[in-house]
């Protein structure tokens, strides 16, 4: 990793900064559409998995298992090449959006399923007793309660999706990683390895770090609230205070 301090290499990166801007734009674009698609698929299959009807559950299960147990790289290649060889290629970025959306959608479906299943059955029964239909029950009663359970893992999946945009490289992608790699290995632009990779890494970090921090902060908050609700907290506090005193005595 020489060239960290070479002014020439940094100058080169600055001269070709549009390459990185374009890559970042493509990555963000792919990620945004992918997240939307994955949310739609996640809600759809998550509701199917909790619907209680056996065949709907079965379909959701098959989707989740097949997608979760094969690499996203394989799915992207599959989609891209099968379209390309049948003469209906729709471009790299569109392929990436769709396959990343489908891949993350499987994880989102599991997140939604877990969130909905965490709501006690009495809530469903109460909603029915009040005359809510299925949509009304989900929209007004179940989802508002489960959203706080769903959000932290869902945001983690979004972070994963943003990192997975790097998969576009294998189909000759235009995302940030591919642009960086093409830049450092290009005949006219090549050589500035260290600064280019640093810029690329920092850009990813700036996007992903706040998101994952936010997710873990939410999760901690949730755990704390749960603990507060638990009755046993009081007794635990007493025990902790006692041990604290004992330590003081020992000192």
């Amino acid at each position: 990793m020489s060239g960290f301090f070479s002014l020439k290499a940094w100058h080169q990166v600055w001269t070709y900064r549009e390459t990185f801007e374009l890559g970042l734009l493509n990555t963000v674009e792919t990620a945004l559409v992918g997240v939307l698609l994955s949310l739609v698929l996640g809600i759809f299959f998550g509701l199917m998995a909790t619907s209680g009807k056996k065949w709907l559950k079965c379909i959701a299960r098959i989707y989740v298992e097949v997608i979760q147990n094969t690499p996203v790289l394989l799915q992207i290649c599959f989609l891209y090449y099968s379209l390309a060889f049948s003469g209906h290629s729709m471009g790299i970025i569109a392929t990436g959006m769709i396959s990343l959306g489908i891949y993350t959608g499987a994880y989102m479906a599991e997140v939604f399923r877990a969130g909905i299943e965490a709501i006690p059955g009495g809530q469903f029964e109460a909603a029915h007793a009040q005359g809510f239909g299925y949509v009304g029950m989900m929209y007004h009663i179940i989802l508002p309660q489960s959203i706080k359970i769903i959000l932290p893992p869902a945001v983690n999946q979004v972070v994963n999706l943003i990192k997975n945009t790097s998969c576009l490289y294998i189909i000759g992608g235009a995302d940030l990683i591919s642009q960086t790699y093409n830049f450092v290995t290009g005949a006219t632009t090549g050589g500035a390895y260290a600064p280019a990779y640093l810029v690329c890494g920092v850009l990813f970090f700036i996007i992903c770090f706040p998101l994952s921090k936010m997710a873990s902060a939410w999760e901690m908050n949730l755990k704390k609230r749960d603990q507060k609700m638990a009755v046993s907290v009081k007794s635990r506090k007493i025990v902790m205070a006692e041990t604290g005193e004992r330590k003081k005595v020992a000192v």
Partner: protein
């Protein structure tokens, strides 16, 4: 239909099949290696991040935190590319090994290093979760029995922490097997890249002289099937361990009541 039969004949070619199956073996070995090294490195990172909080060795805690956060928030492919130019390769690996050319062994070593570094940061967070789940009373109990801090870690805290995270670690194995397909971006060593390579020369194997859609379906379908069988078996094991843990915990809480 004829296309499909021609595509199927690719898989009946024993040389092709052997080539792909060797790729499966490489995938498994790389993933297993990454997880084992990741657990070793990850435990150290987790311990340092969690317990180096005193004024004197705060710096180490910070370093571990920075390492974990950086690797968790950047894509694996970036680290593979970085390792390609930045990771030194020992002379021992710059020769023909395991039926690979010397260039490929070199690439394999560098990419494996990247995968290990990346996986260790993820596993560190998993193990940290396990460490946090061990009750503080365990430390006090250990101290009162005359254990030193290191002994408490080895004999009391770490075994419990690992026991708590076995299902999560197993599902990390699944993720690592999937992540090993990222190596397809730089070299033809493991399953994914080998299937892709065969697809690119499928016209030589299927006897029709051209690549059809059915070749894509058959070859990638075959690879997907292999990945699915391995990962699904693992995820069934994960679910089984989670379930048995729940019943054990349930029994224990009953005893406590």
């Amino acid at each position: 239909m004829e296309d499909l039969q021609a595509s199927l004949s690719i898989l009946q070619n024993p040389a092709v099949l052997l080539y792909i199956l060797k790729g499966v073996a490489f995938s498994m070995i790389i993933a297993l290696l990454a997880v084992v090294c990741g657990i070793l490195l990850g435990s150290v990172l987790a311990l340092v991040r969690n317990y180096c909080t005193s004024q004197k060795n705060k710096v180490f805690g910070w370093i571990a935190t920075i390492y974990i956060e950086i690797f968790r928030n950047t894509p694996l492919l970036l680290w593979i590319f970085i390792c390609l130019i930045a990771c030194p390769c020992p002379k021992h690996f710059e020769r023909q090994l395991f039926g690979l050319t010397s260039v490929e062994t070199k690439l394999l070593f560098k990419a494996a290093v990247a995968l290990i570094l990346f996986t260790s940061s993820v596993i560190a967070e998993i193990i940290r979760g396990g460490l946090n789940s061990v009750a503080a009373g365990q430390f006090e109990a250990g101290h009162s029995q005359g254990f030193s801090t290191v002994q408490i870690m080895i004999y009391i805290v770490l075994p419990q922490a690992f026991k708590n995270v076995v299902p999560t670690l197993l599902s990390q194995v699944i993720t690592t097997i999937k992540d090993s397909s990222y190596l397809a971006n730089i070299a033809t060593i493991e399953l994914m890249s080998r299937v892709k390579k065969i697809l690119s020369s499928a016209n030589m194997y299927n006897g029709t002289g051209a690549i059809h859609v059915s070749d894509v379906f058959i070859l990638f379908g075959f690879a997907a099937l292999i990945y699915f069988i391995i990962n699904y078996t693992l995820s069934c094991i994960v679910r089984y361990t989670q379930k048995s843990r729940k019943t054990v915990n349930g029994k224990m809480s009953w005893n406590n009541v």
